[in-house]
């Protein structure tokens, strides 16, 4: 007969403020097998844990039920405490009285107490059937896959590589650098973005521990924490990476003009080109969608091949798949800028002089289409009035409900750049909802903008109009003066926010990293595990987890790198034993379970029994996450999840119904 101890936690007033904890503890005494019941203010505190440990020793308890907060919060804490007292940690059962009782039924204390009693009854019934389990240790691969070569991926790769871990850095574009490479200056210090990024890019290309794979994508991921196997598709550049010296002779002779993606399509490049002025690696790439030779047949064009002195052009280059084994993954796939075409009222796309903030970056950048001069895209003239409109696509339930976190600071920076670059007489207006300048040195930056004669209008315009001569104007009601203002602007810059990448769903499916309601990748815990996904060994860095500015991105990337080092540095890791196991005698080899498993943890094996082939399912323990889908699908009941066997679950259900039936009979 099991000897059960029941411990009811007050959680300050979080539980005790609603649930009558004394009554619950008193009730637990009447349950079969219960030897000790206690209630205490903070069970997770040192004296609370000691109370349990003392009882285990003194009263020879062999099952522990703790009625407290969610097991996500403190199950590990209590398991550790129980193990310290010499009991198998998996003989602990957590009953959730906070999230599922006191917080959920805050206005019904009487009923909440009854529910708490029922949950404790269920917990005790289940606890009596718990079995001791052992953790398994597996060795890990001491290398890391970093997906995305923006500033987040660069920082994570460098940190890991400097700590001695081999890194595979995969970047979709022909060059690393990401969004930061497109920016002119950075707030609030007005550091030149290229000046602080380029040295890091070069360091990545030269680092002996980093294998940089540009123009490449991860196509498949198998395995489990510590032992992932990734397939990386390296798309052909049609240029020999070892021979190309980046002289750009080919670009000069190429006859096909192509919109320049790096310059947000504000300029043109050629079908063979180097991605950007600061590209790393500085190697030309042929765009197969536009190249005449690749689109048609062998006789056509080929001018680049004639011009190339290094003999680097190779039209026969094929895609290549590279397999790598890694222990952990850092996802740093970044974000996109909101497409203002979706917000028709602002005239983006209809009026050439309405530009997005990322386009303004290119206009302002010395390596951009205007050579760093701020000119209107429509007529190439210097604007006399520039208007910035905030929160385009963000804080807007029609598009994205969240605040984009960077828009205000981006606009302040761009307004200051415009004031510095354009002649003194230019009028600059910023139409905003709230000006959010929250970071270190940010509010000082806002003040600096106000000092530079930039006018802030507290209100957003409803729509932008054009006069017959094509000039733009809009009406905006200013909360500060209670006036309806009309602003005529030669250039309107939209403060477009950051949004999840279009292909983030694919990334999420590939790495089993779930997404939050806003579409970004979801961290394992919003406060306590912000750098990890729910998938063990997959870490998150940068704007793919949520909109972020550069300082926050770099901080998170270093954090994610440290987390990966923490995971891999020991050379082996412990795995939770709550996994599926197959009863070989019961398994009929029907194969229903294998395709259902979302983690591909079930393999079909074939035994030879009495000269006949006999298929059976086998669980790869390290891959299994213990979700239980296979167990509930198995027609013969051959698969069970450790600690969640049919008997354990059914006993719990019976305990839930026990008293309800009795009351019904009254």
């Amino acid at each position: 007969m099991a000897r059960v101890g029941v411990y009811v936690c007050h959680c300050g007033l979080n539980i005790a403020g609603v649930v009558d904890v004394e009554k619950v503890a008193e009730y637990a005494k009447t349950l079969p097998g219960v030897v000790v019941t206690k209630h205490y203010t903070y069970m997770c505190s040192e004296p609370g844990q000691r109370m349990i440990q003392d009882d285990i020793k003194a009263k020879k308890l062999d099952r522990i039920v703790i009625a407290t907060c969610s097991p996500r919060m403190h199950e590990e804490t209590f398991r550790r405490a129980v193990a310290e007292a010499g009991l198998n940690p998996y003989l602990t059962e957590i009953v959730n009285l906070r999230e599922q009782v006191s917080w959920a039924h805050i206005h019904e204390p009487g009923k909440a107490t009854e529910k708490a009693k029922a949950l404790v009854r269920m917990g005790v019934a289940r606890a009596r059937l718990l079995e001791p389990l052992e953790k398994h240790r597996v060795s890990v691969e001491k290398s890391v896959l970093v997906v995305g070569g923006g500033i987040a991926g660069i920082q994570a790769s460098l940190d890991l590589a400097n700590a001695g871990f081999p890194v595979y850095l995969v970047e979709k574009a022909p060059s690393i650098g990401g969004r930061m490479a497109q920016l002119d200056k950075t707030f609030p210090t007005l550091d030149c973005s290229a000046c602080i990024l380029t040295p890091k890019m070069v360091e990545v290309t030269k680092h002996p521990n980093i294998t940089m794979l540009t123009n490449a994508e991860v196509t498949d991921v198998k395995g489990f924490v510590g032992n992932y196997e990734a397939s990386i598709l390296k798309k052909p550049r049609y240029v020999d990476e070892k021979r190309c010296v980046g002289c750009e002779l080919c670009t000069k002779v190429c006859p096909v003009k192509v919109p320049d993606k790096f310059n947000e399509n504000l300029a043109e490049t050629r079908a063979i080109s180097i991605y950007s002025a600061h590209a790393a690696p500085k190697i030309a790439t042929i765009n197969p969608d536009h190249c005449l030779r690749l689109k048609h047949d062998k006789g056509v064009c080929g001018k680049c091949q004639e011009a190339c002195e290094a003999k680097a052009i190779n039209f026969e280059q094929q895609p290549e798949t590279i397999q790598v084994k890694v222990g952990g993954v850092v996802l740093a796939v970044g974000s996109e800028v909101f497409n203002a075409l979706e917000m028709a009222e602002l005239g983006y796309g209809r009026f050439k002089n309405v530009v997005s903030n990322i386009e303004f970056e290119r206009i302002s950048d010395a390596s951009g289409p205007t050579g760093g001069k701020i000119l209107s895209p429509k007529d190439g003239k210097t604007p006399r009035t520039i208007a910035f409109i905030q929160c385009v696509g963000s804080r807007d339930k029609r598009f994205h409900e969240y605040c984009c976190r960077v828009g205000c600071m981006v606009t302040l920076k761009q307004a200051i750049l415009a004031r510095e670059k354009v002649h003194e007489n230019v009028r600059i207006y910023v139409c905003y909802i709230d000006m959010r300048a929250f970071g270190k040195g940010y509010d000082e930056f806002y003040r600096r903008a106000r000092d530079m004669d930039i006018d802030f209008v507290a209100g957003l315009p409803s729509e932008i109009h054009a006069t017959s001569d094509g000039s733009l104007y809009f009406d905006v009601y200013d909360k500060g003066t209670n006036k309806l203002l009309q602003i005529h602007a030669d250039l309107v810059v939209l403060g477009t926010g950051l949004v999840p990448n279009k292909n983030l769903a694919d990334v999420s499916a590939l790495f089993h990293a779930s997404r939050s309601a806003d579409g970004f990748l979801l961290e394992a815990h919003p406060k306590l595990k912000p750098l990890e996904s729910a998938m063990a060994g997959v870490f998150l860095a940068g704007a793919c987890q949520g909109p972020k500015d550069i300082p926050d991105t770099v901080a998170q990337a270093s954090g994610a790198a440290a987390k990966a080092m923490d995971l891999l540095s020991q050379g082996e890791i412990e795995l939770e034993p709550l996994k599926a196991i197959v009863d070989e005698d019961l398994c009929s080899g029907c194969k229903i379970c294998a395709p259902i498993c979302p983690f591909l943890a079930i393999e079909m094996k074939t035994d030879i029994v009495d000269g006949k082939e006999r298929p059976r399912a086998e669980v790869i323990e390290a891959v299994c996450q213990g979700c239980g889908l296979c167990s509930s699908t198995c027609p013969t009941g051959a698969i069970k999840i450790q600690q969640y066997s049919n008997k354990q679950v059914m006993t719990q259900v019976e305990a839930a119904l026990a008293e309800t039936c009795a009351e019904g009979g009254k």
């Binding site: 006399r384 009035t385 009028r427 207006y429 000006m435 806002y446 003040r447 106000r450 000092d451 004669d453 006018d455 802030f456 209008v457 507290a458 009406d475 200013d478 909360k479 500060g480 003066t481 209670n482 006036k483 309806l484 203002l485 009309q486 602003i487 005529h488 602007a489």
Partner: protein
């Protein structure tokens, strides 16, 4: 001009705005982020047609034409609460004083009370005329009854110095 106030069809007057900013020695005192604390605590708010935060914003945007000729700028009781408590060290008070000076310069209509005060100073050297008061015993008394020394009118030279200072300020 790129900005119009559609409610009065007014346009910003950058020239006048710059004059005001010159009197304030730059933008420091109009560097406002519209927390509206000044208006929340304004002593004379109930008498004001325009609020302190609005006045600052109007100067920022350049809608300053109506300001010197309006009554608003004369209603401020110069309690300086707005200056003391502004989180950005801006000052609606200094803006209002600058506007008053501009009004005088433009020879706009100045409320009678202010003109009286000036002539009062010139004549007597005092901001207020001395008055008879009523004691607790309901007796009306003057300085003489209370045996206070007589106040002499200012010397001729005072007026000259006063006028000279006024002229210098104007220039």
């Amino acid at each position: 001009m790129s900005l119009i106030d559609l409610m009065s069809m007014a346009k910003p007057n950058i020239e006048t705005r710059d004059k005001i900013l010159a009197r304030l020695s730059g933008k420091e005192l109009v560097n406002c982020f519209q927390c509206i604390k000044c208006t929340s605590g304004c002593t004379a708010l109930k008498l004001l047609e325009l609020k302190p935060h609005e006045i600052i914003k109007l100067v920022n945007l350049g809608f300053v034409d109506e300001l010197p000729s309006s009554d608003i700028i004369w209603t401020c009781v110069t309690c300086l609460k707005c200056v003391q408590r502004c989180p950005q060290k801006a000052s609606p008070y200094h803006v209002i004083i600058a506007l008053r000076n501009l009004a005088v310069e433009k020879e706009a209509k100045v409320p009678e009370g202010y003109l009286k005060a000036v002539s009062q100073i010139l004549e007597t050297g005092q901001v207020e005329t001395y008055q008879k008061i009523v004691t607790r015993k309901m007796e009306t008394v003057d300085r003489e009854c209370l045996k206070l020394p007589k106040i002499n009118p200012p010397k001729q030279s005072f007026q000259a110095v006063f006028m000279k200072a006024m002229e210098e300020k104007k220039a």
